[in-house]
Assembly symmetry: C2
Homo-oligomer: 409 residues x 2
């Protein structure tokens, strides 16, 4: 009845068939390599029970009350200090806006910048949550060809030259979701030179940076940003837990001031208690140790997945070897549709995410994303084994069909 | 630097001078009749500490994990059951979307319906949070003249006739923020007849309905809605606590399905733990008793404020006598600017909110909103006394200026 009165932007908002399909995995004994769920066995349940009781019994009147849109002041200061220590930035507390997960950061940034038909430039593939946050503002998505070191500089320049109103560059430089790739230092420097020359904002989304298994940190884009063009996004979802929904935006103070006005309209403020829970947890002993346990666990799960892929995948399958994060990326032989493979795998009790949804302009049907954070090594190995069986089945069918076609007079 | 690249919608997003001014009240010993803060002495701090420990120790892996965008299933069912029991509606769990405060409900509804220049019709005055949520979508605000019983029907019809693309009617039928007024049954029926005849959506925002001091409940618009045009907004902020940010939208299932897609882009989901905290609190003994204590406390504070206003306000001041909620509304003598009065009152250590911000098209400088939920009876009485002194001072100045002007040849 009301359908006729929806806003035009709803044309760009569609339910994902894949997401609906994957919902079926929740209540069944499926080996899910699909979601991006952290390992719940490392959640801080007991510590948080004690911390929460202390907060509620000592400061309940504040913890359960409305609070400033900008965020809980001690948490803003802690986030700035952590970023500065980890990434050698020089943020102040006033440059941090606490958000209801970093997904809200994406929404607020879209509201701040995107007019209909504006261009936004992203890696190809890019984070699907950014696509869903920004499609409502009806931008043109410019996918920049990306190799194992990041966006290819002359491809970026060429596309920027063709833009009419390019609003920002969106990148996930560390262990990208979905590809698992990390930008090289050189490519980061090149990106920031381009951004500075053109005066264009850069969204540096870094949810996985602390989940590094090996190798050295690569400098944050923010350390190459004398102009204040970088807007950073962060989250406690991967290094603490996602269910509290605590993320942040780090940006120049005038940008934060605008984002605060938008957040006021969006949800008034992020839950007060949750901010105090994270703040107290950061101040308590054991925060860094828990991250170290997460890193060790995910490293061994990544290793298990890589070993299984090497063993089980037929020739012609390529996959990335991420130095951190939660995901790796698979390219199937050309002509194999990952959605068809998913249907077969679901019958065999294994789920993953076909890659097409990570390309805002579609295509790339032969790609898929695998998550290794949420399943045990045994289940990862068994899942990849079943995927291998299903894929070899598809390839055999295809070969048989070709023989068949060749026989038809 | 980035200012030049903001989206056009930012022209409609401005910092409120009043809000900035009122921030100054937070850290001083000001009698604040300004905010809309619930009384923290009735927050469920101790009960919630115990409930949270139980959740985290028994179900921590779920409580701290990502969860469905639609909301925690038991909470959706509890909200539907409560609404049906309180308001004689017939919502199912599938018609409830849990939101990060009901402010997020406003944002999602704006995204779903409003194209630039679309008309939205509201009471005059209306809730300032709706103005800040929807201004980003650049609608035309059509204020409908409103008396003590609700929108005036022929004024509404006349304005709808003049609309090109009216998208929805927005009303707060119970103890409205800011006016404190409650719609009569007859006016509600008339509104829904108009909405049905024209096939226009109605947003029924009901944050205060359970905070009734006297008189009988008036039926919900939803009970007069065979077409499914009503979209309800609710919140636990006023009957439990605001710091957890748990609200909801109640609407026909196809509308909820669209809102779910928008919420996915906006913040993925409302914090899992917070939803489980509210769900467990609803199931525990004492929830209704706590609401009864809130109602009794706010009733006595409203009474204290009304007594003080009768005693302290000079002739020519009018105010509403709300049957519930947190606010009442004051009209000063014509020509007195509430912002000027606020400046005087701030010097005397009292704060309130000037009324102009509640009119999306401005004007009505002689109005103001008073909150009675957050201060003791003694402080309310002292605050109103000081306001009376300040106002009489302004009126005396004005009288003296008039005598002066009459003398000038």
């Amino acid at each position: 009845m009301l359908t006729a009165t929806y806003a035009r932007r709803m044309e760009a908002v569609r339910a994902s068939e894949i997401r609906e399909l994957l919902k079926l995995t929740v209540n069944r004994d499926v080996i899910s390599l699909a979601g991006g769920l952290p390992a719940p066995e490392l959640f801080p349940s007991e510590d948080l029970a004690a911390i929460t009781a202390t907060i509620l019994l000592n400061e309940g009147a504040a913890a359960l009350q409305y609070s400033p849109t900008e965020g809980y002041p001690p948490l803003r200061a802690q986030i700035a200090a952590r970023m500065n220590a980890l990434w050698h930035t020089s943020y102040t507390a006033g440059e941090i806006l606490v958000t209801t997960g970093s997904q809200q950061g994406l929404d607020l940034i879209g509201k701040l910048f995107i007019d209909e038909e504006d261009e936004i430039l992203c890696e190809s593939p890019t984070y699907v949550g950014a696509i869903s946050a920004w499609n409502v503002f009806r931008p043109r998505w410019i996918e920049v060809p990306t190799d194992e070191d990041g966006m290819i500089p002359n491809e970026l320049e060429r596309r920027l030259d063709a833009c009419r109103r390019a609003k920002f560059l969106y990148v996930v430089p560390n262990f990208q979701n979905p590809s698992g790739r990390t930008w090289s230092h050189e490519r980061r420097r090149s990106l920031m030179e381009t951004a500075a020359r053109r005066g264009i904002a850069v969204i540096e989304d870094n949810p996985y940076g602390e989940v590094r298994f090996e190798g050295a940190d690569v400098p944050s884009l923010r350390t190459m940003d004398p102009e204040g063009l970088v807007i950073g996004l962060g989250t406690f979802s991967k290094i603490f837990c996602p269910g509290l929904r605590i993320g942040w935006i780090a940006a120049a103070a005038p940008v934060v001031a605008k984002l605060v006005l938008l957040k006021q309209g969006a949800d008034l403020h992020t839950p007060t208690l949750n901010q105090m829970q994270v703040s107290a947890s950061l101040a308590a002993p054991g925060f860094a140790e828990r991250i170290a346990r997460i890193v060790a666990l995910y490293r061994s799960r990544r290793d298990a997945m890589l070993r299984a892929l090497e063993r089980e995948m037929p020739p012609g399958v390529r996959f990335t070897r991420p130095e951190g994060g939660l995901f790796l990326w698979v390219e199937l032989p050309a002509g194999i549709d990952a959605r068809v493979l998913l249907a077969r795998c679901m019958e065999a009790g294994v789920a993953f995410v076909p890659g097409e949804g990570f390309y805002p302009n579609g295509g790339h049907a032969n790609t898929l994303r695998l998550n290794f954070s949420n399943m045990s090594e045994e289940r990862i190995e068994e899942g990849i084994r079943r995927m291998g069986v299903a894929l070899r089945g598809l390839l055999a069918n295809r070969a048989a069909e070709r023989v068949e076609e060749a026989r038809v007079p």
